[in-house]
């Protein structure tokens, strides 16, 4: 009878556990995983920075101690026992009874792996596992041995007696396990990290606030109706609330790249030991934010790139010394913003990629013919690495050569709208750059028309726009053989007619045509379209598989007027039209950067007869703004631009001039240069100009002492003032206005 009762009680206790993981446990798992991530970082740091050991050990101790405390409370005895053993060892370490050795760290890392595995098991099944294979006595014994306790007295019920010799055996087995474990553990932990997200309460409150505002605006709109006089004002409010809300949601989805980097020190440590390398890892830009889904998407490609760098990139210590390099290789992971996208760079100072070997391999694999190989430029040859079925490792090791090549890396990154670049110098090292957009869902785009249809061109690939009047068309379009080119600032640009490429009927346009200069994956070309429509921020909608197969469209979008437009895949269009990447262009760009005195300027007129110029890099756009959109606050002109309040600088009093000249004209508009400094990422501003004159190269003159802040330059042999005012001081007084 009594036995019967206890059985039911037991069953009652375990079933809810098994069936579902309750909130409390869920929270515990998330918290513990954070703690373990921290512990992992500290452990790898401990090895590289022993001088800070006290602090680091304390941090690790805290993580393990928290787990132990909470598990006892939740009734996970297996976890508690293990955590206890770990805590005991860490206690000795904290009291400096033990020295930090490689074995000790390895032991603690194994403890970490086991704790993670149990957590994953709890998350999956709700229980911590009671099978015989889930016994931890081996690890507990190992930890005890590390603590200098000769024969660990198994204080717990029926732990198997452990012979010291067996410990070492099992330890080596555990080591093998540890080598394969990170991957397994990561896949196990993935579901929870994908499902949950930590958000600052502040951000959440702001979101709620904005949603409230949205509801209020809707109510007002419903009450007042479309005809009412304050409708434009309400529409404007709706616009600003939407923009704010979107930005806040984006912000909530942003995660620092450091979260991803955090996994690497451990992985590299394990890898380096397996491959017999000496590797130091350096990070920068961990705080760079990236959309959560994108972060998940690039996790695997980045992991693969890091693996590659350690296994193939960095040479063995002996080889390095022979090559005159320090024995310890260096792997740099860098994340930073660049023109609307985030760049993640994996750079090693290893052997680099030997071009002959790449070509030989490509020929061997039948990817190119020997004749083709002979004609290939270095850049083209490097691109071969991204072809499916290519791997230069002569021996397939456990680390690389698992059938996952660089082609998969590229495919994964491109799937989320990113791109991959590879740079390598033999003997110096290899740099792999993953370039991903900040967010997936909404992209700024320019809508164009061609063949009677609308198409969206992502702004990130758009370099500039050229208008070609029909009377000039015959002159400016020149031919090289069968292909047509345009002379853009003394460089020949291949032209691609969108309507011809897509096999659409040629809508003969009387007034001339436009050419959008696009750049993607190193290809630069001019896309000829019939007309330009407004720039819009478009919401990307995926296309069905049948239409994706066409390979030229990356999606579709619903435009502001309710019609649909296809989003062009700029790189795919280039490939279809046969545009090849250009190499020289890059070199020249670098040269321009190197000689600081010479730069490209946008030349404009901001007061009568005076030429002023801005470095081209700071000018984001040239907008024609209707006068009635310019508002005044405190006597200063302001412009609401894409959800941002821009201060307008109008030193030449152009606004007044236009106002006087066009008093009767309702549609009078001013030309505004939207400027922002990409380096400092300071707030943007607008500069009102009379007209834009030209883009050209110029040479900065010596700073004119008498003129003080004004810089002069020679642009096209004419004296031109350089507009300054992008420093900190400028930013400050515009903040006040905002």
């Amino acid at each position: 009878m009594a036995a019967d009762k206890s059985l039911t009680a037991h069953a009652l206790f375990t079933t809810p556990d098994k069936r579902d993981v309750d909130d409390l446990t869920q929270e515990f798992i998330a918290e513990s995983q954070d703690g373990l991530d921290r512990m992992e970082r500290c452990l790898t740091d401990l090895e590289t920075r022993p001088q800070e050991s006290q602090q680091l050990v304390a941090e690790i101790f805290r993580a393990v101690h928290t787990i132990k405390g909470t598990t006892g409370f939740l009734g996970f005895s297996r976890l508690e026992k293990l955590a206890h053993a770990g805590e005991h060892l860490l206690g000795s370490l904290r009291e400096e009874k033990l020295a930090v050795t490689e074995e000790l760290i390895s032991g603690l890392l194994r403890l970490l792996d086991r704790l993670r595995a149990i957590l994953a098991l709890i998350e999956e099944t709700g229980g911590e596992g009671t099978r015989a294979s889930d016994e931890d006595s081996d690890l507990i014994a190992e930890l005890a041995a590390l603590n200098g306790e000769e024969a660990p007295a198994p204080s717990h019920e029926r732990a198997a007696p452990v012979v010291p010799i067996k410990v070492t055996e099992e330890a080596s087995a555990a080591q093998d396990e540890a080598a394969s474990a990170p991957g397994a553990v990561q896949t196990g932990a993935a579901p929870s990290s994908e499902k949950t997200l930590r958000i600052d309460v502040e951000v959440l409150n702001r979101m709620m606030n904005l949603v409230g505002e949205l509801v209020l605006t809707r109510n007002q709109m419903l009450q007042s109706g479309v005809e009412s006089t304050n409708f434009p004002e309400l529409a404007r409010r709706l616009d600003s609330v939407t923009a704010d809300l979107r930005e806040t949601v984006m912000q909530a989805r942003m995660q620092p790249v450091g979260n991803l980097f955090g996994k690497f020190p451990r992985m590299i440590r394990d890898l380096a030991r397996i491959c017999g390398r000496d590797v130091r890892i350096e990070f920068s830009g961990q705080e760079t934010g990236l959309d959560k889904s994108l972060l998940e998407a690039i996790k695997d490609p980045l992991t693969h790139a890091v693996r590659n760098a350690v296994d193939h990139g960095i040479e063995s210590p002996a080889d390095r010394v022979l090559a005159g390099k320090p024995a310890e290789g260096c792997l740099r992971l860098r994340a930073f913003h660049q023109s609307g996208s985030v760049v993640i760079e994996v750079a090693d100072d290893g052997a680099g990629i030997a071009m002959e070997r790449v070509l030989a391999k490509a020929i061997e694999r039948g990817l190119v013919t020997p004749e083709q190989a002979k004609e290939m430029s270095e850049r083209e040859a490097l691109q071969l690495i991204f072809l499916p079925g290519f791997s230069t490792a002569s021996a397939v090791t456990t680390v690389s050569g698992r059938g996952v090549g660089m082609d998969v890396v590229r495919a994964n990154v491109e799937k989320v709208g990113g791109s991959v670049e590879l740079e390598s110098k033999v003997g110096v090292g290899t740099t792999l750059r993953l370039r991903v957009p900040l967010t997936l869902a909404i992209v700024p785009a320019l809508v164009v028309r061609s063949g009677g249809q609308s198409f969206a061109l992502p702004q990130t690939s758009l370099v500039e726009l050229v208008y070609i009047p029909s009377r000039d068309a015959a002159e400016v379009v020149e031919r090289v053989g069968a292909s047509e080119v345009y002379r853009l600032r003394e460089r020949l640009l291949p032209m691609v007619w969108l309507d011809r490429l897509l096999g659409m009927k040629n809508a003969s346009v009387e007034h001339g045509f436009y050419m959008a200069v696009l750049e993607a994956e190193g290809c630069r070309y001019g896309l000829v379209v019939d007309d330009l429509l407004a720039p819009e921020e478009i919401v990307v909608k995926p296309l069905s598989a049948v239409l994706r197969e066409i390979g030229l469209f990356s999606g579709a979008t619903v435009l502001g007027n309710g019609t649909l437009a296809l989003i062009l895949d700029i790189a795919a269009v280039a490939a279809r039209a046969g545009v090849k990447p250009v190499m020289e262009e890059r070199e020249e760009e670098q040269m321009v950067e190197a000689t600081q005195d010479e730069a490209s300027f946008l030349v404009f007129e901001d007061r009568a007869r005076e030429r002023t110029a801005l470095p081209l890099g700071v000018v984001e756009r040239i907008e024609s703004v209707p006068l009635n959109r310019i508002e005044y606050a405190n006597g200063r002109p302001l412009l609401q631009y894409r959800g941002e309040l821009l201060q307008l600088r109008d030193e030449g009093r152009v606004l007044d001039e236009i106002e006087i000249a066009g008093q009767q004209d309702e549609d009078a508009s001013a030309t505004v240069l939207i400027c922002g400094d990409p380096q400092t990422r300071s707030a943007r501003m607008g500069i009102v100009v009379r007209r834009v004159l030209d883009v050209s190269n110029g040479t900065l003159l010596e700073k004119d002492a008498a003129a003080g802040e004004i810089d002069l330059a020679l642009v096209k042999e004419r004296l031109t003032t350089i507009f300054r005012g992008f420093g900190a001081g400028q930013e400050k007084d515009w903040r006040e206005v905002a």
């Binding site: 063949g451 249809q453 609308s454 897509l502 096999g503 659409m504 909608k541 995926p542 296309l543 069905s544 598989a545 049948v546 239409l547 197969e549 066409i550 030229l552 469209f553 999606g555 579709a556 619903v558 309710g562 019609t563 649909l564 437009a565 296809l566």
Partner: protein
């Protein structure tokens, strides 16, 4: 036990008769099971897709999605109509692939008895054999039954029969 028996007989009744939505393309009339139709959008101008297979009439925006729309006239090998056709939204069984179907006009709902379905004549060409499920003899003439599953753009692309235009 009784309840079970009842539901079985009910099910039988249900399977015996079917309600079809009638539609027209060219000279003929067709029917699709109403349960498979999500919505009839009516006449719509579609956004054409350059370089798409011939059977794709274009795309249409539908509740936040962009739906690929199959032109039924193109499937039958008929020339394009100058005026816009009627668009129906169809769901596949798993709900994975929602798509549009453009026909000349949509009629009404007709109830037919399943056993009245006549099989395709053996002389029918391969394309039509794939598309048609058989025909019902109606007073006004024959109504050909269509299986929406087979009209899915991805299935049509797989068969390779409809890639080329007329």
């Amino acid at each position: 036990m009784k309840i079970v028996a009842q539901s079985v007989s009910q099910m039988q009744e249900e399977t015996e008769s079917a309600s079809l939505c009638s539609m027209f393309a060219g000279e003929e009339s067709f029917g699709i099971d109403t349960a498979k139709i999500r919505e009839v959008l009516g006449r719509r101008e579609l956004e054409r897709i350059p370089m798409a297979p011939a059977f794709v009439a274009g795309v249409v925006a539908y509740r936040g999605d962009v739906l690929t729309t199959v032109s039924f006239r193109a499937l039958l090998g008929l020339p394009e109509n100058s005026e816009a056709g009627c668009v129906l939204v169809l769901d596949d069984d798993g709900g994975h692939e929602r798509f549009g179907l453009m026909v000349d006009a949509v009629g009404g709902v007709v109830t037919v008895e399943r056993r009245m379905l006549e099989a395709n004549p053996s002389t029918l060409d391969a394309k039509c054999k794939w598309l048609f499920d058989g025909a019902y003899k109606m007073e006004s003439g024959l109504m050909i039954q269509l299986d929406p599953q087979k009209l899915r753009p991805s299935r049509l692309a797989e068969t390779g029969m409809f890639r080329e235009g007329v």
